[in-house]
């Protein structure tokens, strides 16, 4: 990096390492450099075992601007020398960072930034915890609601939570302001927070008291609008799918499951679904009798499969795996790997016995 060793130091080190005089080490390096240069000229690449490979790369002619005059110029095509380090060198260099693995960030929410930890006042900390609690709770309460289509109690709960969520940002904003203006006394801020919390709690207690006896449906219709909008959204969501809507399709000569999947489903990689749906007709997935009638499912968005479609695709690949294990054991593992691509869960609990070797292969990808 910023530190550099001179050529002289390098020669000294090499001479010491290989137990020879400095002058011979020096001439060795000079010869080496000359050979690298002539090698680049003659064949365009020079490789040094354990170190890396020098290569010439042709850069095409391109447009550029002269940074001084702003004039447009054409930069002619030319060779560039690139050095590609080999694995041994790469690992040596990267040693301080070795063993670090990429980690998955599941919840990429901005809220986590809004609720940045406030190191100062105690009450504020409590506030931020409250904040977190409520925000975590929120989706939790909405979820059961999404599954059941309509129940009278649940809307009420979501409605109750909503105002809280709406209020909290205001509070944390205030907390930030308090933090910014250093003159503000922390005790005041703390007191204010507590009062606010008390108010909010009181507000909800009262609301709950007044609401529960009434028929909730009418109340929340007129009082709070967002939940209503939410409700329609939720109802519109598709129910758990358990079966494909299929239509029959007559196969023409020259068609394969792959091309049918490509034309009819929009994605050739979904062909295992066809195989799985038409198991009674197809024994060998590679042989499709012409003029036969097969069932094809309707898939709304081949780019964005839903849970069920993915599972079915994975199951299709699994059937293919089973067939190939019997008839083409060498390539069977690739189908098992494809199962994992569409549904990693299915690999964890395969529907029937799989070869441990194949499973290891599928998981290692």
């Amino acid at each position: 990096m910023s530190e550099k060793i001179t050529f002289k130091e390098l020669v000294e080190l090499i001479a010491k390492q290989s137990q020879q005089s400095q002058s011979s080490a020096n001439s060795f390096i000079t010869e080496l450099v000359q050979i690298i240069e002539s090698g680049l000229k003659s064949s365009g690449s020079v490789s040094i075992s354990g170190f890396g490979k020098f290569e010439l790369r042709w850069m095409n002619e391109r447009k550029g601007t002269n940074p001084q005059t702003g004039q447009e110029i054409t930069i002619p095509g030319q060779n560039k020398v690139v050095f590609k380090p080999y694995k041994a060198l790469r690992e040596d260099i990267n040693a301080p960072y070795a063993g670090l693995k990429p980690r998955i960030i599941r919840d990429q929410v901005e809220e986590s930034e809004a609720v940045a930890p406030n190191p100062a006042a105690k009450s504020e900390k409590k506030e931020s915890i409250d904040d977190l609690l409520i925000e975590r709770e929120n989706p939790h309460f909405v979820k059961p609601f999404t599954k059941e289509t309509k129940s009278t109690k649940k809307p009420e709960q979501t409605k109750e939570k909503r105002p809280v969520a709406a209020k909290i940002p205001g509070e944390s904003r205030m907390a930030e302001e308090v933090q910014k203006s250093g003159s503000f006394k922390w005790s005041y801020a703390a007191a204010l927070m507590i009062v606010l919390i008390a108010f909010i709690l009181l507000f909800f207690m009262l609301q709950r008291d007044t609401e529960t006896p009434e028929v909730p449906a009418t109340v929340h219709m007129e009082q709070v609008e967002p939940p209503v909008a939410d409700e329609t959204d939720v109802v519109a969501e598709p129910r758990e799918q358990t079966e494909f809507e299929t239509e029959s399709f007559s196969v023409e000569p020259g068609q394969s499951l792959w091309t049918i999947a490509e034309n009819q489903l929009g994605n050739p990689y979904l062909w295992p679904i066809l195989y799985n749906l038409n198991r009674d007709l197809l024994i060998n997935p590679n042989q499709l009798p012409a003029a036969s009638e097969i069932q094809i499912p309707t898939i709304s968005d081949p780019e964005n499969l839903n849970e069920f479609e993915r599972e079915q695709t994975a199951l299709g690949y699994f059937s293919l795996y089973e067939w190939n294990r019997e008839n083409n054991p060498e390539e069977a593992r690739y189908f098992l790997w494809a199962v994992g691509v569409f549904s990693p869960e299915l690999l964890d609990e395969p529907p029937s016995e799989v070869e441990p070797d194949d499973l290891a292969f599928a998981l290692s990808r």
């Binding site: 530190e3 060793i5 001179t6 080496l32 450099v33 690449s45 075992s49 170190f51 060779n79």
Partner: protein, 97 residues
């Protein structure tokens, strides 16, 4: 040019045996990579400068997991060819092997 060819030509020039040449070259490589892994740059006259660079940790989207991944920092080698070498090969036509 393959490694074997390189050794052949190098031993011709230096007059050492191929085995000896190979050993010395490996020593040189060891010294270079040791210096580089200490974070030091090494410049070789007429060839260029080797240096290391740390790519900081970054966030990427992985469509397989449908989530963001935090990719850890990584240190890599950089090579900056000398002006001399650059000019020498600039407009060369290479006939592939």
């Amino acid at each position: 040019m393959k490694y074997k060819e390189l050794i052949d030509r190098l031993s011709e020039k230096t007059g050492d045996s191929k085995i000896k040449t190979r050993e010395i070259l490996q020593d040189a490589v060891d010294v270079l990579s040791e210096q580089l892994s200490q974070g030091k740059g090494v410049s070789v006259p007429d060839l260029g400068t080797f240096s290391t660079k740390v790519n900081p940790e970054k966030k990427v989207y992985n469509p397989h997991y449908e989530a963001y991944l935090m990719v850890p920092p990584k240190r890599t080698v950089e090579f900056n060819p000398s002006t001399n070498l650059k000019e020498e090969v600039k407009y060369l036509k290479i006939n592939d092997e």
